[in-house]
Amino acid sequence: MRLFGRLSIGLLGRLSAILLLTLAVEFIASTVLYEKSSRALIREDEARRLAEHLVIARKLLSNEPIPGRPALAARLTTDRYDVHWAGSTTMPRPTRSQRDEAFRRVINWEPSLTGSDLRVETVAAGRRAQLFGALRLSDQSWMRFRASEPETVGQPGWHRTLLVLLPAAVLLVIGALLFRRTLRPIRMLARAADRIGRSSGLTLPEAGPTEVRHLIHAFNAMQHRIHQLITARTEALAAVGHDLRTPLARLQLRAEQIAEPKLRRAFEADITEMESMVLSLLAFLGGDDDPELPVRTDVAVMAATVVDDAADRGADAVYVGDDHLEAEVRAVDLKRAIANLVENALQYGTCARVGATVQDGMLLIWVEDDGPGIPDARMEEVLHPFTRLDPARSRNTNGLGLGLAIVSRLAEAEGGRLSLSNLAAGGLRAELKLPLR
């Protein structure tokens, strides 16, 4: 049960979750790596342009006479780069050169700046980073500059996320569908396993991936073995049932020679009981090799005849249903079922009321008795074979406890159902409902 609970999201769910996890990891990893490398590329590019601009500005400012320098610096200022010439020789910010990455990149691209006492400092301002810096002209005056980095590229915007997530979602759906297809043989297997022992087995086609194919093969073999085992046991029991009839016949003929009437009757009653046990056992085992064919039968008259047979044996049984009701039924099985219900009623009660009619398009046969009924908790149990209601009374109870099991099985085989309920006035009501054909 615990195992079942743990597996409740299903194999398909699990596989889909694995797929989702894989996709998520892939998405995160690729995004991070891609972002990083693309940012590095952009910075490199940025540093080169800055280096070129600085080299040109330095050359132009150095060649310009001092009065024209501020105006020239203003002309050299672009959207991206701020260039100032202060004219002073005092050291501006930053006071010392940081040997940071930006510095190295600029120097790498323009080694001629090495002798210009270049110093840079990156200051993060909000979402933008600004690069401040200064360098010395050939006359030792300082040129200051400021570059603002372009807006951080590769910011994960919603449309970008969607663009990456969409293929992932499609992949997930395709993956789930393929998993479903792959798992189909397993579902078939579960259904077939569920049917074992209920109806004739079903040999599954060996399809699907190798492992599943092996599983189905093993399952089919197991099913075959179980079927053989059941058949062998059933045949053995049926053979015993048949073989018992010959000694029973001998016993019956011998019993007739007993002179003392009381003893003879006791013998004959025992033989009758044994015979009915053998009969019910054979009926339960499905003693008939080939199933009976449905025959058009007057079911109402059949139920009445079962009642009449019981009445002829001295029982208090009445038929109160429809006079006539013709339907296609397996007559021998159905008559046995009705007889079992009537016998049951007479065994636990003193009288049996039987009826047959059509209700909601179903054939309904009911049997009511005036016995003690069945405790609600045991309603299901009494339908199982070899169940007898009251252990204290089982000594007086005939049969093997197969009566209701036989009826219930017949009902299931016909697509109908046997239901039991206690009557308000006391007693049990058994309802046998069969599809009307």
Binding site: H242, D243, R245, T246, L248, A249, R250, L251, Q252, L253, R254, E256, E268, I271, E275, L279, L282, G287, D288, D289, D290, E292, V295, R296, T297, D298, V301, M302, A304, T305, D308, D309, A311, D312, D323, H324, E326, A331, V332, K335
Partner: protein
């Protein structure tokens, strides 16, 4: 009147001798056999009135044997089976057996069946009358060997043994009044004393089972005398 001769084929020695004795005590001459070859020589030993055949014999199955006997002779056959399944009964009757008896059986049941089959006469008689044992009246069909009644709409109508015997007696005497005492006697011969129901109860049940859509069954009460089947019976 000479005693009827019965050939009994039964492989179980004890059951064979018990059955033989039971039949002898009831006035039959019995030739017991254990196997098919013994049966063939017993059949040749003299005229035979009835064959009592166990369906599960070693060597040959009773069904094959029944078929073989039917090719040679029209002697009435009663099957005895340890299977007691409906298929056996139908197969046996279709192969031309006259009746079917499931083990275990008592002497009373056995002799009642034998008497009934002997009374119906051998196949020769029935063939002479081109009789399949089918009787039709008012749309109903009665198969005497299969003990089946079919309604005008084709549905099987299930009757108790006593009810069927009563119906058979009424058919045999169609459109003639049968005295109650005679009916009681007839139904008792076959059923032994298992049915103590009065004939009146059986008649009322038959009437209900033979009624059709408000149309009453063609069984008439003749006050103070007995009953009559008021319908033309056609035999086939």
């Amino acid at each position: 009147m000479t005693s009827p001769v019965i050939v009994l084929v039964e492989d179980d020695p004890a059951l064979r001798s018990l059955t033989t004795r039971a039949l002898q005590e009831n006035g039959y001459l019995v030739r017991p056999c254990a196997t098919a070859p013994e049966m063939w020589s017993a059949m040749e030993a003299g005229p035979v009135d009835l064959l009592l055949l166990d369906i599960m014999l070693p060597g040959t199955s009773g069904i094959d044997l029944c078929r073989a006997v039917r090719r040679e002779s029209d002697v009435p056959i009663i099957f005895i089976s340890a299977k007691g399944s409906e298929t056996d009964r139908v197969v046996g009757l279709e192969l031309g057996a006259d009746d079917y008896l499931a083990k275990p059986f008592g002497t009373r049941e056995l002799t009642a069946r034998i008497r009934a089959v002997l009374r119906r006469g051998g196949l020769e008689d029935r063939r002479a009358h081109r009789d399949k044992g089918l009787a039709e009246f008012d749309g109903f069909t009665v198969s005497l060997p299969r003990r089946e009644l079919t309604s005008p709409s084709g549905g099987t109508i299930d009757l108790t043994g006593a009810e069927f015997d009563l119906l058979a007696a009424l058919i045999d005497n169609a459109q003639r009044v049968i005295a109650r005492e005679r009916l009681i006697e007839l139904s008792r011969t076959r059923m032994g004393d298992s049915s103590d129901r009065s004939v009146d109860v059986l008649i009322s049940r038959l009437r209900r089972k033979l009624s059709r859509d408000g149309k009453e069954a063609p069984i008439i009460t003749v006050r103070g005398v007995g009953y009559m089947l008021n319908a033309t019976v056609t035999r086939r």
